[in-house]
């Protein structure tokens, strides 16, 4: 490669990198975070259920997801989602699903297993007496969970949930393997087109570092505040 760092290529592709690439990455992260926390909480409640088949099924799902590489999970869902979609709407042939929705479903289902373990620890951190007093007041299981246990569990686990989300933000870059145009994907396309791999990949690393480091610092401050109140 020619000597000298070509900053120009970054400037030229700025709009593509951020308006298209980073938007994809951030949207995917937020969707998967929301979906993952909802499903993860439900999974955690299932794992802690006294109904054996329910807790075993949830445990098996969580352990399966945590035992295989994310890249393999991405491949699985990339090919599986068209079949599930066809089954859901009763079509005979596998339906077409774009890279974005395929990735959104993958990350939601994958991260749910990780959020589940966090929420399970959160629920277990609430003294049993809290749930019992809920039942004693005449609340049912769902009311006790929604109004007493989960708000406290969620609050206790907030820093860990956010740290997991930062990891999720970094992990979304793996959609590269299904050729999606996330931030890394967009940069890789520019890098290969203009043969500017050094500049583009260094820039990508710097951007990811700045965002992740900044968010981690915020989480650390939040953690200190939560810790003091507790």
């Amino acid at each position: 490669m020619d000597s000298g760092f070509d900053f120009d290529v970054i400037q030229r592709s700025w709009g593509y990198l951020f308006r298209e690439g980073m938007t994809f990455t951030v949207t995917l992260t937020l969707l998967a975070m929301a979906g993952g926390i909802v499903f993860g909480t439900l999974l955690a409640m299932m794992r802690l259920s006294s109904v054996k088949p329910v807790s075993i099924a949830a445990g098996a799902y969580v352990n399966l997801m945590r035992s295989i590489p994310l890249v393999l999970v991405i491949f699985w869902f990339f090919f599986l989602v068209p079949y599930i979609g066809a089954w859901a709407i009763g079509a005979r042939e596998p339906i077409k699903v774009g890279a974005f929705w395929s990735a959104a479903i993958t990350f939601t289902m994958f991260e749910a297993a990780y959020y589940c373990e966090i929420m399970r620890a959160g629920i277990q951190s609430i003294p049993r007496g809290q749930a019992w007093s809920g039942y004693a007041l005449g609340l049912d299981y769902w009311q006790t969970m929604a109004q007493i246990v989960l708000p406290q569990a969620f609050r206790n686990m907030l820093p860990v949930l956010l740290t997991q989300t930062i990891i999720l933000f970094q992990d979304t870059s793996l959609v590269y393997v299904i050729s999606a145009t996330d931030f890394l994907g967009a940069a890789a396309k520019v890098a290969n087109r203009d043969y500017r791999l050094v500049e583009m990949y260094t820039f990508v690393a710097v951007v990811y570092f700045v965002v992740s480091y900044g968010l981690s610092a915020l989480v650390k401050r939040l953690q200190e505040r939560v810790a003091i109140i507790k």
Binding site: S67, I68, F75, L184, T202, A205
Partner: protein, 252 residues
């Protein structure tokens, strides 16, 4: 779902002609393990060193250790792979860079993958080691000083042996992480287990057979690791010393 399973594909010859698809996948497992183990050795060495140094009273060493950890923790693994594979050879002197680029496959991918994965994992081990050391009562260190041990001696004989026993369970999950994370090396052309499952799917069009086989192989590998580490934990156990039960931690 109307998918016609065809499991016999595993025993059909793969197009490269080296053997059956099952054999092809198992060679992939061998590459996965070869990558993960080499990276693990590197990660343990650097991680133990950096983690320990970050607990010493030397301010500048601690700061350098923190910088190292923050850099490699906040950049996605796949981006780090690309940096090692595409960027580092360009930044080296031209002859050395050209020589690196001409290393024949699979070693041209294997070496950067091991370096990348080793350093990525070392950061996580450094965090565990530091947490393990900090979880020991202060009295342990003071007792070392009172007995006339030097700083190095008290680390060697008092602090580290306990800290490593405490962090064995989290180290087990880090070891499983390094096996899983080695799949990212497929993006720089290393045909490890996941990469070979994808290649098998492209050659044979048997999508779900290929991925199911790879999934089962990963699950069995995990099982072996868990059993082996449980045996190790049992072997090095010191009566009365409680291992870390693993406070909830984010991870992947």
């Amino acid at each position: 779902m109307n998918y016609n399973w065809h499991w016999k594909v595993l025993f059909e010859l793969e197009p490269g002609g080296t053997g059956s698809y099952l054999h092809y996948l198992l060679v992939g497992l061998a590459w996965t393990l070869a990558t993960a183990l080499a990276a693990w050795v590197l990660a343990l060495a650097i991680g133990a060193l950096v983690g320990t140094l970050r607990t010493t009273p030397m301010k500048w060493v601690v700061r350098a250790g923190n910088l190292y950890v923050e850099i490699f923790r906040n950049v996605p693994l796949i981006v780090q792979m690309f940096l090692w594979f595409f960027v580092v050879p360009e930044l080296l002197p031209r002859e050395l860079g050209d020589w690196i680029k001409q290393i024949p496959p699979p070693w041209g991918s294997y070496v950067p993958a091991v370096l990348c994965l080793g350093i990525f994992t070392s950061v996580r081990i450094a965090e565990q080691v530091r947490a393990g050391i900090n979880s020991l009562p202060r009295g342990q260190r003071l007792a070392g000083v009172a007995m006339g041990l030097t700083e190095t001696q008290s680390y060697r004989h008092v602090i580290l042996p306990q800290a490593f026993r405490i962090i064995l369970p989290p180290l087990t999950s880090e070891f499983m992480n390094v096996i899983k994370n080695s799949s990212v090396a497929l993006t720089i052309g290393l045909l490890e287990l996941t990469g070979r499952a994808r290649a098998m799917q492209e050659f044979s069009f048997r999508v779900f057979e290929a991925f199911t086989a790879a999934t089962v192989i990963y699950l069995l590998t995990n099982l072996v690791v868990v059993l082996a580490m449980r045996a190790l934990e049992h072997k090095v156990r010191v009566p009365g010393l409680i291992a870390a039960t693993g406070a909830p931690q984010a991870g992947h």
